[in-house]
């Protein structure tokens, strides 16, 4: 049963991260996802200090706000202060992450949080942290509910505003000309990424969030030219990686999050080499010239 819950949590995280990741990599903002996933740390710590509990809702709000603030800051440094964009990302997230760690050290006695939990999470413990209702019903692991809710929200978000998200990602100028506010959708997308990151971080850690945001979409991007197919494919690849990663971790007796990230990497390498349309091994065979008589 534990295996089931862990794989389910992993799959839910994989689904919402990969779906949003497709938009991120097409907008060339993969590193913004990485930045957000690290920069939410102070938000989590502050929410923790204010409420004094590991309750999910305040944490989601605190870290969600920080995530949006991160994107604001990156944009501000880049647009207004004219810092080159990669430096703006690098400066912002390391600065916020440093603040987070310092806050943890200052309030060390009051916070049951540590860096390794932030970086690679504790997915193995999800089945233990059960959500028990007041009548004594056991409703399954808490993380499944949190991540599940966020996944449903993300899927709804993408279904309801598919057109706007699609247009602003592929052709911002055209989107603007037909009256879609590009910056509104940019910030909505970023809010969704922050929310997802925060909901997932406790169970899987920042690093797996980044892996899910980038690797399955990048793999799917090598396999198809159709955006809808890419969305579905990346979610499936993420789910597959969660399952395979779990068993790899059991076999090696290591971190599940680390193992899942490893498997997403393996998937990418396979697609990179053997993708029917774009794999470099496939292309090499195609290029072989016909013998000249």
């Amino acid at each position: 049963m534990n295996a089931f819950w862990i794989i389910l949590t992993g799959s839910l995280v994989a689904t919402c991260c990969s779906l949003l990741g497709c938009y991120l990599i097409l907008r060339r903002m993969a590193m913004v996802g990485d930045a957000i996933s690290h920069a939410v740390l102070p938000g989590i710590v502050i929410a923790f200090l204010v409420t004094g509990s590991r309750d999910s809702v305040p944490m989601l709000i605190g870290a969600g706000l920080l995530g949006v603030l991160t994107t604001f800051l990156i944009e501000f440094f880049h647009r207004v202060a004219r810092v080159q964009s990669d430096a703006a990302i690098g400066v912002t997230f390391t600065w916020l992450f440093a603040i987070g760690i310092i806050l943890i050290s200052v309030f060390a006695g009051q916070i049951d949080l540590d860096q390794d939990c932030v970086l690679y999470g504790e997915i193995a413990y999800t089945p233990i942290d059960l959500w028990i209702s007041e009548d004594g019903w056991i409703l399954g692991p808490r993380a499944v509910w949190t991540v599940g809710t966020v996944t449903v929200l993300v899927i709804l978000f993408i279904c309801l505003s598919y057109k706007e998200l699609y247009l602003t990602a592929f052709d911002a100028a055209y989107a603007a000309s037909i009256g879609i506010s590009t910056s509104l959708w940019y910030y909505l997308l970023m809010s969704a990424v922050s929310l997802t990151t925060v909901a997932s971080f406790e169970s899987v850690g920042a690093i797996l969030v980044v892996a899910f945001l980038v690797a399955p979409p990048a793999t799917a991007y090598l396999l198809t030219d159709n955006f809808k197919t890419m969305l579905v494919l990346s979610a499936l690849l993420g789910i597959l990686a969660s399952a395979a990663g779990y068993y790899l971790a059991v076999w090696l007796d290591g971190s599940i999050a680390g193992a899942i990230a490893t498997v997403t990497g393996i998937e990418f390498v396979l697609a990179f080499l053997f993708s029917p349309s774009r794999g470099i091994w496939m292309n090499r065979r195609k290029i072989v010239p016909a013998p000249i008589n």
Binding site: I25, R28, M29, A30, M31, D34, H38, F77, V80, A81, R82, V83, Q84, D86, A87, G90, V91, T94, W95, F97, A98, I99, I101, I102, S105, V106, A108, Q115, D116, L119, Y120, I207, L208, V210, A211, L213, V214, A215, P217, A218, Y221, L222, L248, A249, L252, D253, G254, S255, A257, G258, A259, I260, A261, T262, T264, G265, F268, F272, R278, I280
Partner: protein
């Protein structure tokens, strides 16, 4: 205060190690960071930092010892490999660089975590301390580490000085460097190697995530103060050194405080202050310049309108109302009175109850603006053969910019003209 003197007397060996180590590390990675920032590849440092972990674990698994040199070698190999992989992915597929960096970063780190936890669970007692590579611990620096830091810092410094010209060209004009026969690939390799070196060494002090800051932040800050690469390198190194020392000091006065994050916090504050207040490129200074230009344009436009109002009857020194000006040109009323008041303080106009009149100075300056406007219109119609009804907008902008030298040149080119394309006299 006693903390302060005690710290800076450096009598405590531990203080000495931590401070010197932090300073060496921060300044040497700042120098390397300048080059990767200028090549617009600031974030690869982040990828290398994460990619170091599997190398350390593999080196430990294969050798079974925690010999720092072997671990460093392992770290170096995978750190280097990660850059090669990013390069291969971006050049051999349609994946963009940011995606490749994110991918390599998370997958390498994932593998590292998997190996690390696997080693930890195996019950091998010798493994404790491997996670130093994960989070860094500057407070635990010892004499041996210092030797390694110094060697690396020296190496970086020597390489930068010896290959200064080549590296500069690589950053600013790679194509040109290629044309004049520089071994661009080899130089790239050198820069990559230096970056990996700085990361591998530095990571033990500040940890995986914050290593990126040690490379990027001082360089980004220094970039705002100067256009000169040599100066930028020195500035970045100084900023790094200062924050290294300050971070060590903070963790000395409050032992619970981690050194690495404080170094990063301080250098970030320096950077953010630079973004805002650096002269020339900083945000505040640019805002100020913009405001000043705007108000100059407004003043010149007002003088121009007042001059034009006097043109039909040659009565330049008659009093005008604000409504007269508003009829002639659409400027908000508030801006007009603000501009006029400023002009009065500068002696270009005089106020007489509710009306305003030009002084002689004001008439001269207004005339000059009108003159430049008409000269430019004429120039555009004669030399660029634009229709005379298309040149006004352009002249509106350029009239505030033309210098006396350019004016002289225009006069010569146009052979001292009398009339503009709209048959107005050029004063």
């Amino acid at each position: 205060m006693s903390d302060f003197t005690e710290f800076f007397s450096f009598t405590d060996a531990n203080v000495r190690y931590v401070t010197i180590g932090s300073v060496l590390l921060a300044s040497s990675s700042a120098v390397v960071g300048c080059f990767s920032l200028l090549r617009k590849r600031a974030l690869v440092g982040d990828a290398v930092a994460h990619a170091v972990l599997p190398g350390v674990c593999l080196a430990f698994m294969l050798s079974g010892t925690k010999n720092p040199l072997i671990l460093l070698l392992g770290a170096f190999i995978t750190g280097w490999l990660s850059l090669v992989v990013i390069d291969v992915i971006t050049s051999r597929s349609r994946i963009k660089e940011d995606t490749a960096i994110g991918l390599v970063l998370s997958v390498f780190f994932g593998i590292g975590i998997l190996l690390l936890t696997s080693i930890q669970h195996s019950g091998n007692a010798a493994q404790s301390g491997l996670d130093k590579f994960l989070f860094g611990n500057a407070a635990a620096l010892i004499g041996e580490d210092l030797i390694v830091f110094s060697v690396v810092a020296l190496l970086l410094l020597v390489c930068t000085i010896v290959f200064y010209k080549e590296l500069m060209l690589l950053c600013f004009d790679e194509a040109y460097a290629h044309t004049i026969g520089y071994p661009v690939r080899a130089l790239e390799l050198l820069l990559t190697t230096l970056t990996v070196f700085a990361v591998v060494v530095g990571i033990q002090a500040v940890g995986v995530v914050l290593m990126a800051a040690m490379l990027i932040t001082p360089a980004a800050a220094a970039r705002f103060w100067t256009e000169n690469l040599r100066l930028m390198l020195v500035l970045a190194a100084l900023m790094g050194a200062f924050s290294g020392m300050a971070g060590a000091f903070v963790s000395y006065t409050a032992p619970a405080m981690p050194t690495g994050p404080w170094i990063v916090l301080i250098i970030s504050m320096i950077a953010i202050t630079s973004f805002a207040f650096a002269p020339g490129k900083g945000w505040v200074s640019r805002m100020w310049k913009q405001r000043r230009n705007k108000s100059r344009v407004l003043e010149e436009n007002l003088l121009k309108v007042m001059y034009q109002l006097g043109e039909p009857n040659q009565d330049y020194f008659t009093s005008r109302n604000i409504t007269d000006i508003m009829e002639r040109r659409q400027i908000p009323k508030r801006a007009i009175s603000r501009g006029l008041n400023k002009l009065r303080r500068e002696g270009y106009v005089q106020k007489d109850r509710q009306s305003w009149m030009l002084t002689r100075q004001g008439q001269t300056r207004g005339m000059r603006v009108v003159r430049l406007h008409r000269l430019w219109e004429l120039y555009l119609t004669q030399f660029l053969e634009l229709a005379s009804d298309h040149v006004h907008e352009d002249a509106e902008t350029i009239e505030h910019i033309i210098t006396p030298e350019l004016e002289q040149k225009l006069m010569q080119e146009l052979e001292y003209p009398v009339l503009d394309p709209h048959n107005n006299r050029i004063p």
